[in-house]
Symmetry: C2
Subunit: 222 residues, 2 copies
Amino acid sequence: MERHFAEELNGLKQKLFQMGLLVEGAIEKSFEALVERSEDRVKEVLENEKVINQLEIEIDEKGHTLLALVQPMARDLRLITMVLKINTDLERMGDHAVNIAEKSQYLIGQPSLGIDFPLNDMADAAQKMVRDALDCFMNENVDLARKVLENDDKIDDYNDTLFTDMVALMEKEPSAIRRALNVLMIGRNLERIADLANNIAEDTIYLKQGKEVRHHFEDHGS
Amino acid sequence: MERHFAEELNGLKQKLFQMGLLVEGAIEKSFEALVERSEDRVKEVLENEKVINQLEIEIDEKGHTLLALVQPMARDLRLITMVLKINTDLERMGDHAVNIAEKSQYLIGQPSLGIDFPLNDMADAAQKMVRDALDCFMNENVDLARKVLENDDKIDDYNDTLFTDMVALMEKEPSAIRRALNVLMIGRNLERIADLANNIAEDTIYLKQGKEVRHHFEDHGS
């Protein structure tokens, strides 16, 4: 029974990892849609979402089944409730990827803004945060978790720069306002994705060290 | 023991309700800050946040203590994991209230935009959704939960109108761009609050009917 439970718990974590990979892929594709001006990529993100939603329900049910079997030992309990929480957070990241794909779809149909802005680097940084957050949870790696938390500041800096750039562009070029707003919204969605990755890293530290770090590294996004 | 457990579970729900009232108050105050142009209200929201964060940790711990004691009966289990989830969602609503207060603080220091836009009605509707979502969960009222889900469309309509109004204003009046952007961001935060209230209503229906309604009423916000 003990061994069986450990296997089941491991299976649950593996399913969460699989969910994480799908979400990571969705974020990447949603941004590729913009860079490659590809309607196909937009469609892929929308298709992908159904799979993510189905997987969320599966993980949720499997998690609850295991919770019902768990011995009242604080650590396994915490691990399972964290899987449930991260599961929700990953699904919400998937929603943000859909939002990005939708804004990208709008932008694909418009003339290019013709300026450089830091959205590419920001998307890379956000994707890396998601990958690292997932890795740090799977391997209970506190050092990596702390790196994720540090990277969140970088995302906020990118977002501030993006805001300044877009306001300057809008003030100079009123015909670009709608496009610039869509770019800004993509930035906000990336920021929210980074916040959710942050939460996973905080949870990992709590799980490993029993120390409450939530609200210490807090940033409210926008 | 049974009776003791029922009392403890009720105590947990009451604490969650208390948390909900605080968050509701924070949303109201964050918006009053804007309407009354009151720096004091901004400060109140920031002060309030500390209490909300503390209460989140308390509820989380109490929930885990109860989970460790629960008999493996599916329903109590589900109820407690939902309390944990709603607890996180309420805390995030609190963060959005802080964001609104910060945008309000910027706007207070600026000349009025001098036009009517539907932010007031939108804030009222979002607050009502939060109140109803909390009530429907506390009383396991499925009819009210369905009303919450319906109201979410209203918020999206307000947000679309707000977007159109703000773009028109920005195109006409470049000096208003920064202010209009802050108004837009307040709208997005209200929309996120409404989405989180939506989640609570969906959870309530699931708890009561065992039916999965998530992803059926889905809306990704922005």
